[in-house]
Amino acid sequence: MGRHDLPDITAAAVVFDWDGTAVPDRHSSAGAVRRRVERLCSLGVHVAVVSGTHVQNVDGQLRARPSGPGRLLLATNRGSELFEVEPGGPVLRERRWASPLEDAGLDKAAADLRQQLSAVGLHTDVVTRLNRRKIDLIPDPDWADPPKARLTELLVAVTRRLADAGLADLKDVVCRATSAAVGAGLADPRVTSDAKHVEIGLTDKSDAMRRLLRELWQVGVGPGLVIVVGDEFGSLGGAAGSDSFLLVSRARRATVVSVGAEPCGVPPGVTHLAGGPATFLALLDDQLARHRHRRVPGVDRDERWTITQAGDDPVRLRVLETLFTLGAGGLAVRGALDAPSVPVLRAAGVYHQQGSAQRLLPGPDWTHVRLRPRPKEVVQVLDLRTGVLLREERELADVGRPVRSLRFVSAARPGTMGLRVEAAAHRLAPGTVFRAPEGLPMAQGRVGGQRWARVASDLGGGMGAVAQQAVSQDGDLRCVERLVVVTSHRRRQPDLGLDAASDAVRHGFSPLLAAHRAAWARRWSSAGASLPDDPQLERALRFALFHLWGAIADADELAVGARGLSGPGYSGHVFWDADVFVLPAVATIDPAAARAMVRYRLHRLDPARARARAEGRHGARFPWESAASGDDVTPPTVRFGAEPTPVMSGRQEEHITAAVAWGVLREAAWGGRRLQPGSAELALLRDTARYWVSRCTVDADGAAHITGVVGPDEYHEAVDDNAFTNVMARWNLRAAAAAVSRRAASPDEARSWLALADALVDGLDASTGLYEQFRGYHALAPVLAADLAAPPYAADVLFGRQRIAATQVIKQPDVLMLHHLVPDEVAAGSLLPNLAYYGPRTSHGSSLSPAIMASLLARAGSPDEALSFLRMAAQIDLADAHGMSAAGLHLAAMGGAWQAVLMGFLGARVRSGTLLIDPVLPADWGSFEVRFRCLGHQLRVRVDRQSTEVNVEGRLRVGVGRRPPRSVTGTFVVDTTVGRRDSSRRGAEEAPCRT
């Protein structure tokens, strides 16, 4: 057997049977296995042993003491125990204990079987083990402890013995054992045979395998990255081979290899190599060689977690660059192939140039390798679960070994990135590591064995990168590996990460990748959605969360541009998208990053004050588009048509000021933080309130007005008393009055804020609950969106701004946005009439629109309609129906989609330190589960048609539906079927509600 016979996979975990697979018998030396296991673990490969015997036998023989980062797990006693080997030896992680009743049942089943066999003249012995009884079918001293090498011989001897007793075969005995177990009252007996014994137990290797897969899943290793090795997958005398129990359904993507004799062949999907422990050692050697040769690792192609693109349509290339962006720690790399259409590397908050032309500074491109001929028929796989991008060329006769590559941007070590490429040696040249972004000078050089590059911003900031490149050869394959550390600073040239780069090299690619996978697994265990009945939407939501995570960081401050770091679109400018759409979502997946987003605004309070002053106002006015300094960088004109026309958003979309204040309080509320006296947050609340005071005019009747604004519906400009702007200003004034301490504002001033808030007109018709979007809106041509075209459509583009401005057609929720953001500031019961009125008037010409509609419709009790909008929102970039995803991802739509799930379908709200949920289910979903962070706690909520199950880490006040909130910890279940009472289970601990 040569290396080419071994599985072509660079695995992240190896799971193997012990006796007969790893060692010939329990007395052989396992030194060769030990050395390989320890080496694999040091490379970040996880290793697990599955055995029917107890841990002392396995550990006593293996005696491996790996120091990580890969884990060594021992699943012993036929699935009843799990140990993890630490430096001091195996530590029990989990053990299944039989109840006295189960133990009695096992004894009885074994005795009954023994009696049955004895009745036909077959003498047997019974051996008691943890959670099982072994019935020895051949208690002959010659067969006391037969090595696996004698399996065929053993099987013949046992079969002959059974035949002498008139029994058909082993299967016959297994059937009798199963009947005996059921007859003894065992609910779920596991009956197996290794030819010598028939075992009746409570667990088997399938339990071990499921447990191991769960452990591996938690460190980011899915079944597709696992090699499973055994020696008894095929049947034995008609009975299932003991290793066939490893073939659980969750392991279906694993690579399964048998090194046993397999006299009856192997089941489909199992590769039979034979050769016993020698082959097993060769397999481990091959895995080690793959790591040594820097071969490209695989990904687990789980279609619920991967985005796969086949083909090389040039039209899609730029879109895929965006969709396959990898980001972490405020740095992101577009998923460009060998000829990127736009710069690939960006850092959050590092801008270049001045005014409205200000944009994110592109960094050195470190992803290029020279491949000739260029890859053809490439399949690209973005693994959302582990944050890696794999590319594979289809195997073609004329180019030899196909090109494969894998890259990651480490979620475990921000700034560290890795790339491996392999191809036929004649095609692949590593080439220059760094390429300058187009149009910008790039300094570069060498330090020791490392290359470095820098790109400087004309604003003083810059990006630096250090790379270590290694090339190796594996037969006719050439492999290139790059480990890169990127640094950035928004105001000065960053230090090159030389130490971090050396550290990364010391760790090595494989351990770094293992840590990266584990970091992503931790993310997904803390936040995400499971929609068992809607896999496509489930994956789209995962795609959204994946990219939200990729755009954020726990940093001094975090500027989240409208397209994140995934492309040049919107120049990295920060809009209200960040405060209202992205931040609420980020607060539920990474509270520290949400705080960093708030700090971006806090750090730009002075420019906001300066702008207010310059306009003759008080307080602080935040810019519609913000970048490096916090000055407004909105482009002044647009040329759509023959003549340039002014862009009014920079001048008139003043609601951004209230949105910034809203974001500050939202982050604090979901984070469970009280704003401290003297804090920058309170200063921002005070100054935004002061702005509104200076911005409002009060008429002779004492009514306050805000005139000449643009609301979220940007189709109508220079309007007066836009309900959204006025109500948000009112909210801002009231929130400031409630939060700001006496030291920050005098009681008189706070009272004046409240008085002004009460005086602000909001366009509400109390008799109908309907808000007029702005003064005069109802007098516009009563055109519905569907009268013009099928929504969604960009009405201004299609019909012209002037024509649309004369109608009631609006771009996105405007009045309705109030119901989403400040439901306590609008009239009770006004959601339904406003949805009924404004819904049909909305063209949804903004990518922000569908997600908010989804959330509102869910709250309005229309979950099916809500689901349609959620699907639309979640597909905005994946479908790229607008043709602009190439310029970057629509992060606000992604944040909005996640908000629609949490705030819409789950109905999650935080009020006074209490989480309130009120779930709804669309007809297409039988259930859904969400995981998220709230109030400093980790939560998991599962909703089905009968109940809502809430799991809280720690103690938290939670209210479900209309029930009063209560302090809970652990898991509790609320019967949400109308008319039923609550119940609790699984150690739920509930405390009475304190008011």
């Binding site: 796969t308 086949a310 259409s341 409208a562 647009v638 459509y793 960009a794 583009v797 299609l798 790229d880």
Partner: protein
């Protein structure tokens, strides 16, 4: 060197010759005159001349009369034509700016590939025009300046336009916009891909341009759009959607 056939008869001979001369200069071709017979079979004579391997395209006068020879040639010619509407002024006018209206389909873009290449090589200013309609207008258009920039860049990229090509976008009736933009921007030639169908309701822009434009109109035959492609090159083809 390819032949540019100037189709002349008594009425428009001078204008056609002047346009053909400019076109020949653009394509670096050789000008060849084809004098039409007065009898029937005039269209066949043009098509026959175009069939010759060295013939690259023909330049001929266009008439509003539906029975005019130009309409017959248009429908049947496998090679490009430059049609000279009645309003084109006399005199040689070098081609310095070409307007390329694209409806967003791959086919239309492909049809004018050659023209684009010729223009680039000749240093001619290339202006691409796209007129949004309800099948090509993007559903979402967030911030007008940034969206326009992103959409423009992507449109030009997907149509493999040279870096210095400029995109004009308009909304409304394509036929009206093509003529309007050609006039406003001072285009010297309009290059259109078309599917050679003149049935009622089709080729409205072509029909209007070839009679009402005040500049010559180059028509390049294109195959019908692929069913899988969707109406716009900016909409992903079915087989290229993500799995």
């Amino acid at each position: 060197m390819p032949d540019v056939i100037a189709v002349v008869d008594d009425g428009h001979g001078t204008v056609v010759l002047a346009v053909a001369s400019s076109v020949a200069h653009l394509v670096r071709g050789r000008l060849r005159r084809l004098v039409l017979p007065e009898s029937a079979g005039r269209a066949d004579a043009v098509l026959s001349a175009l069939d010759e391997p060295e013939s690259a395209l023909a330049v001929l006068a266009m008439d509003r009369d539906p029975a005019a020879m130009g309409w017959h040639v248009m429908k049947r010619s496998a090679k490009p034509l430059v049609l000279v509407p009645g309003g084109v002024p006399d005199g040689v006018r070098p081609i310095g700016r070409v307007l390329v209206p694209l409806d967003g389909s791959r086919e239309a873009a492909h049809a004018v590939d050659c023209t684009v290449e010729l223009c680039t090589r000749a240093g001619v200013d290339l202006v691409v025009l796209h007129v949004f309609n309800d099948t090509t207008a993007p559903p979402f258009w967030d911030q007008s300046v940034h969206a326009l920039h992103a959409w423009t860049e992507e449109f030009l990229s997907r149509h493999v336009m040279p870096p210095d090509a400029r995109l004009e976008v308009r909304a409304g009736q394509p036929d009206h916009n093509v003529l309007d933009v050609a006039t406003t921007l001072g285009a010297d030639l309009i290059a259109l891909g078309w599917s050679q169908h003149l049935e009622k309701g089709r080729a409205r822009t072509v029909r209007r341009a070839v009679v009402d434009a005040d500049v010559p109109v180059m028509l390049v035959p294109v195959p019908a759009p692929s069913e899988h492609q969707g109406p716009s090159v900016l909409a992903p083809a079915v087989e290229h959607r993500l799995s």
